[in-house]
């Protein structure tokens, strides 16, 4: 079992290994609430909140840690929850990701960064009030709105004039489908021609004309089209049968 002190120590080692310097509460200067641990590094300020094994059974405790994390997100560049391995499977990383919180999993083998915290700029404060909207600005918005309305009407007129051309285009679409069908048939024919030329090229076919031929012509192993394909393609009569699907056969 990892107690809070163990968690704290492991996170300290992890941060030190990354060149992060611990920050004291005074340095942070956060009167409304502070993280369990804070560090400063070349990329910015990192906060860490410790989630003890108590979270497994104590709903209130867990809620408090999550709320604290959420309230601190705009006061640091990186924010992590550090949890023991036992607790980690119960933490939904998708939700953490959504809120920009990373997850450090602490086990016997040390700290694993299971989910990286994304960088977020520190908020300058939300004290400033919304600016007053002046009459001038309002008039300007209204005039821009009427200009937009005019442009919209012009566009509608354009669309109406283009409609006949569109119906002509849809007739052309049918032509495209025919071209595609022809191209597919050409593919099938190429396959069959390849199969035939390969079988003609085989000397055995010439020297043993009296041998009974199989009902279908399987593609040859040496057929260039099948080179590099898995072995179950080799001499498989189904290739020929399936290539004709939709042409001349119907199932029983």
């Amino acid at each position: 079992m990892i107690v809070m002190e163990g968690l704290r120590k492991a996170v300290e080692e992890w941060s030190a290994s990354r060149g992060l310097r611990p920050l004291s509460q005074e340095e942070l200067g956060l009167p409304d609430g502070s993280p369990d641990m804070a560090f400063s590094g070349p990329k910015g300020i990192t906060f860490v909140l410790l989630l003890g094994e108590k979270a497994l059974g104590d709903r209130r405790y867990f809620m408090e840690v999550v709320m604290r994390a959420s309230s601190l997100r705009d006061k640091c560049n990186f924010l992590y929850l550090a949890a023991p391995k036992l607790v980690a499977p119960f933490v939904d990383t998708e939700v953490l990701k959504k809120h920009g919180i990373g997850l450090l999993v602490v086990g016997d083998e040390g700290v694993v960064e299971a989910l990286a915290s994304p960088y977020r700029p520190i908020s300058a404060g939300r004290q400033e009030k919304a600016p007053q909207v002046s009459l001038e600005a309002l008039n300007e918005v209204l005039s821009r709105l009427s200009a937009l309305e005019e442009r919209l009407s012009a566009l509608e007129r354009e669309v109406l004039s283009v409609r006949p051309a569109l119906s002509e285009l849809s007739a052309l679409r049918g032509l495209g489908e025919q071209v595609r069908a022809l191209s597919a048939r050409l593919d099938a024919l190429t396959r069959r021609v390849d199969a035939l030329s390969a079988s003609l090229a085989r000397p055995t076919a010439l020297t043993a004309p009296t041998a009974p031929s199989p009902p279908t012509t399987p593609p040859s192993a040496g057929q260039p089209e099948l080179e590099g394909l898995p072995s179950f393609f080799k001499d498989n009569p189904w290739l020929e049968i399936l290539a004709r699907r939709g042409q001349d056969e119907v199932p029983a």
Binding site: R180, F233, R245
Partner: protein, 425 residues
């Protein structure tokens, strides 16, 4: 890029087996990727989920291990959607698992950087007895995935026996696919002959049931309830007899020679059937022919008899022996086709993996021989029966060949149940 060139890279096979989902593109080569065909529905009332928001509704793959709790909970939360080969129309949890597994499989092979990629040609395979609504649901699932991810250019669905026949390069044959829950007998003659399919409500699970009863009779009542142990015992000592009466007589005459002893690895448990060792022949016989009179005493003591059941629109027969099932399926086909069908019977699925230890040759037989013997009893001679090679992957291989070879222009037809279904304009 021509259609052929494109398909050489982006044909994708999906085999929804009873226990495993085998999937992957043509570029996987000889073997696909495999994950268990199951999903876990986490308990949403857990405190973490209440605080941190809803977790994923269903968990699949290796991640399931992190969620598994008490045994009692498993039956309720762990869903094997294809356990019977057929998913009920309104079994929404099973369909959720199928969707999640399908999405996982396709995402796993999304090409990193290929501007020419427009989605896979997906060929999925379902049980031969899957009703039409299963096809509709599976198409819907692929349509949704394509809308979200753009990973499906076209999709088709073929019955598993057709895929087996394709993988074994046999255009005319009878395929018997026997899994955990049921068995399908499907004649194939360039197309699956759908009206001739015979479905049996019997599979590997029934061999487990009789093994459990045998363990109980041998004094291992506590272990008879452990599914894993029962399966291990079945695989270790179960034998298919050439003739059940003769095999039992031989085993009773020479009990030491036929003695069945199993050591469960990693435990202190050793199971010795002792004087009941003759019963090891019942395990294999029960799969092939449960009508033998020796089984009556088991039924009368409460072992459930395989019943005729209707799942979806399909009637699964309980007590038909495998020989009868093949004859019935073949005789539903045109007479002139029948000799060609008997000429090649392909056995596929885990329920045909019976070993014949050299010391029991003559008394015990393999599955192919047993099928031949059953057919001979029905007056069918000169049958060629073959075990599918690498049965675990043959359906996926058949899917890959089908997806590669069937032209893109052949659109899906509900009348013929073949062709490519496309969702994009």
């Amino acid at each position: 890029m021509s259609e052929t060139e494109y398909k050489r890279k982006y044909t994708f096979g999906e085999d929804y087996g009873t226990s495993f989902y085998k999937f992957g593109p043509i570029t996987c080569g000889e073997r696909p990727e495999v994950i268990e065909n199951r999903g876990y529905f986490p308990d949403e009332s857990m405190i973490m989920f209440q605080l941190m928001g809803r977790p994923r509704e269903v968990v699949i793959g290796d991640e399931i291990a992190q969620f598994l709790g008490a045994k009692e909970e498993l039956a309720e939360r762990l869903v094997y959607p294809m356990r019977n080969g057929v998913i009920e129309r309104d079994d929404e949890r099973a369909w959720r698992v199928v969707e999640e597994i399908t999405r996982y499989g396709l995402e796993r092979f999304r090409p990193k950087t290929d501007p020419s990629f427009q989605g896979f040609y997906v060929c999925a395979s379902l049980s031969a007895v899957a009703p039409r609504y299963m096809y509709e649901r599976l198409f819907d699932i692929h349509r949704r995935i394509d809308e979200e991810t753009g990973l499906v250019k076209a999709v088709t669905i073929i019955p598993q026996p057709l895929a087996v026949a394709i993988a074994h390069k046999t255009p005319t044959c009878v395929v018997i696919e026997s899994g955990h829950g049921n068995t399908q007998v499907c004649p194939v003659s360039r197309y699956p002959v759908r009206r001739a399919i015979v479905a049996l409500n019997r599979g590997g699970g029934d061999a487990n049931a009789i093994t459990s009863q045998i363990l109980y009779d041998a004094g291992y009542g506590d272990l008879a309830r452990e599914e894993t142990i029962v399966r291990m015992v079945k695989e270790a000592v179960g034998l298919v007899p050439r003739d059940l009466d003769e095999a039992v007589r031989a085993a009773k005459a020479e009990p030491e020679r036929f003695r069945a002893v199993v050591k469960i690895p990693g435990t202190r448990i050793t199971i010795d059937l002792g004087e009941e060792s003759w019963a090891r022949f019942l395990i294999g016989e029960y799969v092939f022919n449960p009508k033998h009179e020796l089984f009556q005493s088991y039924f009368s003591r409460g072992m459930p008899k395989p019943k005729d059941v209707k799942i979806g629109d399909v009637l699964f027969r309980g007590m038909l022996d495998f020989g009868e099932a093949i004859v019935e399926a073949v005789e539903r086909c045109p007479v002139e086709l029948q000799p060609h069908l008997y000429h090649k019977v392909l056995l596929s699925g885990g329920n045909f993996q019976w070993k014949v230890p050299p010391e029991f040759e003559g008394v015990a037989v393999d599955s192919a021989t047993k099928i031949k013997l059953l057919l001979r009893e029905k007056g069918v001679e000169g049958v060629s029966v073959e075990m599918a090679k690498e049965p675990k992957f043959s359906v996926w291989r058949g899917c890959i060949i089908y997806g590669y070879a069937v032209p893109d222009r052949f659109e899906w037809s509900w009348e013929h149940m073949e062709g490519w279904m496309k969702f994009r304009p």
